[in-house]
């Protein structure tokens, strides 16, 4: 969510004991003009309170 109008949404399911790793999702972008489909790469690597996950998001025009 960037504000009340602009956001990217995706849904998935997973085990409650899910692993760290590179997750690849397909989502929909809201209010990015003609760019509607989103590819989302979520590198879930955080092991402690100070670690950070890394994200790459690509929006596509159809």
């Amino acid at each position: 969510m960037f504000d009340d109008f602009v956001s990217i949404a995706f849904n998935t399911g997973f085990n409650s004991n899910y692993d760290f790793g590179l997750y690849k999702y397909t989502g929909l972008a809201n209010d990015f003009g003609d760019y509607t489909i989103a590819k989302i790469f979520w590198n879930a690597q955080a092991l402690s309170d100070v670690d950070r996950d890394k994200w790459e998001i690509f929006l596509y025009k159809l």
Binding site: M1, D4, F5, S7, L28, N30, D31, T36, I37, L62
Partner: protein, 150 residues
């Protein structure tokens, strides 16, 4: 009907007396934060159906189904952020869904969502323009839905 279908709709606004609301607010349990949730059902009036794709029954039974859940600590009766899944429902086989996040004190305005149409054959990707302008119990929101052939 060519490469797109255009639907124009009208629904009661968020606070309309016609809206069926059901709010969930759980008690804290074993230090688990309470869950805040809201579902709504709003009757849809179909103003325009460019491809004449909807049956009279689907037009009559059309509803906006909302499932909204809270994110964050509840301090003023509602969490600061909300997640909403919305479904423009025509029947159990034919509907349009979209998902978004927003502040609990969101403003009125023109929201532009991307959605997925189900049961419209090869018409799938959907632009949803929701003009949320209702501030009173008798106001209406206006919708323009464009479904594209893939």
């Amino acid at each position: 009907m060519n490469n797109k279908i255009v639907l124009k709709l009208k629904t009661p606004g968020f606070n309309s007396v016609e809206v069926l609301n059901e709010t969930t607010f759980s008690n804290e349990l074993n230090n688990t934060p309470p869950i805040w949730g809201l579902t709504q059902i709003r009757k849809i009036t179909v103003i325009e159906d460019s491809g004449n794709v909807l049956t009279p029954e689907q037009k009559s039974n059309a509803r906006l189904l909302s499932n909204i859940s809270g994110c964050g600590k509840i301090t003023t009766g509602i969490p600061p952020y909300l997640l909403g899944t919305f479904n423009i429902y025509f029947d159990d086989f034919r509907n349009i869904s979209f998902t978004t996040g927003f502040n609990s004190n969101y403003g009125f305005g023109l929201y532009k969502f991307s959605g997925i149409a189900s049961g419209f054959e090869s018409y799938k990707l959907t632009d949803v323009n929701w003009l949320s302008q209702a501030s009173g119990g008798v106001d209406f929101d206006e919708w323009t839905i464009t479904i594209y052939k893939m």
